[in-house]
Amino acid sequence: MIVELNGRRTEVPEAATVETVVSGLDVDLGRRGVAVAVDAEVVPRSEWRRRRLRDGAHVEVLTAMQGG
């Protein structure tokens, strides 16, 4: 299926979870400073492993950047 991951249409397995796509971004899962929203709702880190994505989901994976 296809999800929109950080603004890019991305092919992911049918059973993909939040953790699947975050891992695909080369993000160190242990580190502080990463947060995920699916369809504009925050998915807590504790739910990444079991939260399944639906086809067409908008997934934003964000981290700290210089700003303000």
Partner: protein
């Protein structure tokens, strides 16, 4: 009076307290504009700041190093912002993401009206502040230099108010010092100048007008020598604070002699019309 380069005299017995947290330095450093992380680390050290802002952006797998590592390494507190949000909804979701990412309830709330002025959108700002306060956030809103709006934000439960001196990154200093003075009179929570600082004297003026702190980003990051400017602004913040507490003399249209006339010699040439 000598100024200790590590712990300015003003800070020792005059800390800034925001939402129960104590800061011994009244300069907040915005990390925007720093392209190199090592330059940011140096500026944090040179400024003496204890509170730095960061933004949330999409993960870039190609980026090396993280601003988080710099902040953690410096042992300073992190203040996530909602920079780039144009609606209350986006700002609220961004604040929730920041809480999840950084495990802090503190948020510097920014809701801007357009990308040309970067001025706050007052109705959206109030709506977002109300929602976030209700969700338990510690909200520090970036706001216009409007005393009534500042009062409304305080009444909603914001722990500080962060008015602009002039538009973000403009370096135009404080365009309406009278509004800041009125705001100081009308608002009890900490007042932190948030935008417009171009050089050290702007920061000193903000403090003399009664601000409790100054947030500075571009003026330091984009200076020819960011390290030197970080020191300059930090010292200016302390100087302004000391001057505010010292109590300035009133402005007068005419001179007031500092040397007494008593005992002045009569040498014969000064006529009555000069007195």
């Amino acid at each position: 009076m000598a100024i200790d380069s590590t712990r300015p005299a003003a800070a020792v017995e005059d800390p800034l307290v925001i939402a129960g947290e104590t800061f011994h330095n009244r300069l907040l450093l915005g990390t925007g504009g720093f392209t190199r992380l090592d330059a940011l680390a140096e500026a944090i050290a040179a400024s003496g700041t204890e509170l730095v802002t960061v933004a949330l952006r999409r993960v870039d797998p190609d980026s090396r190093g993280s601003v988080i590592d710099v902040v953690d390494g410096a042992g300073v507190r992190l203040l996530p912002n909602t920079a780039g949000c144009y609606t209350s909804r986006d700002a609220v979701v961004t604040a929730r993401l920041a809480r999840e990412a950084f495990q802090t309830d503190w948020v510097k709330l920014e809701v801007i009206g357009d990308d040309r002025t970067l001025l706050p959108d007052a109705p959206q700002l109030l709506e977002a502040a109300e929602t976030l306060v209700a969700e338990g956030f510690v909200v520090l809103p970036y706001t216009n230099d409007d005393p009534i709006l500042a009062r409304r934000l305080q009444d909603l439960g914001c722990v500080a108010v962060m008015p602009l001196g002039s538009p973000i990154g403009s370096g135009m200093g404080i365009r309406n010092p009278y509004n800041l003075a009125i705001m100081r009179d009308r608002v009890d929570v900490p007042l932190i100048l948030d935008a417009g600082v171009g050089t050290a004297s702007d920061a000193a003026l903000a403090m003399e007008l009664g601000c409790d702190g100054v947030l500075c980003a571009s003026a330091i990051a984009r200076a020819e020598d960011p390290l030197a400017m970080a020191r300059a602004v930090s010292v200016a913040v302390d100087a302004g604070r000391l001057a505010r507490r010292a109590g300035r003399i009133p402005r007068r249209l005419h001179a007031e002699a500092s040397t007494p006339d008593t005992g002045l010699a009569d040498l014969g040439s000064v006529g009555d019309d000069r007195r």
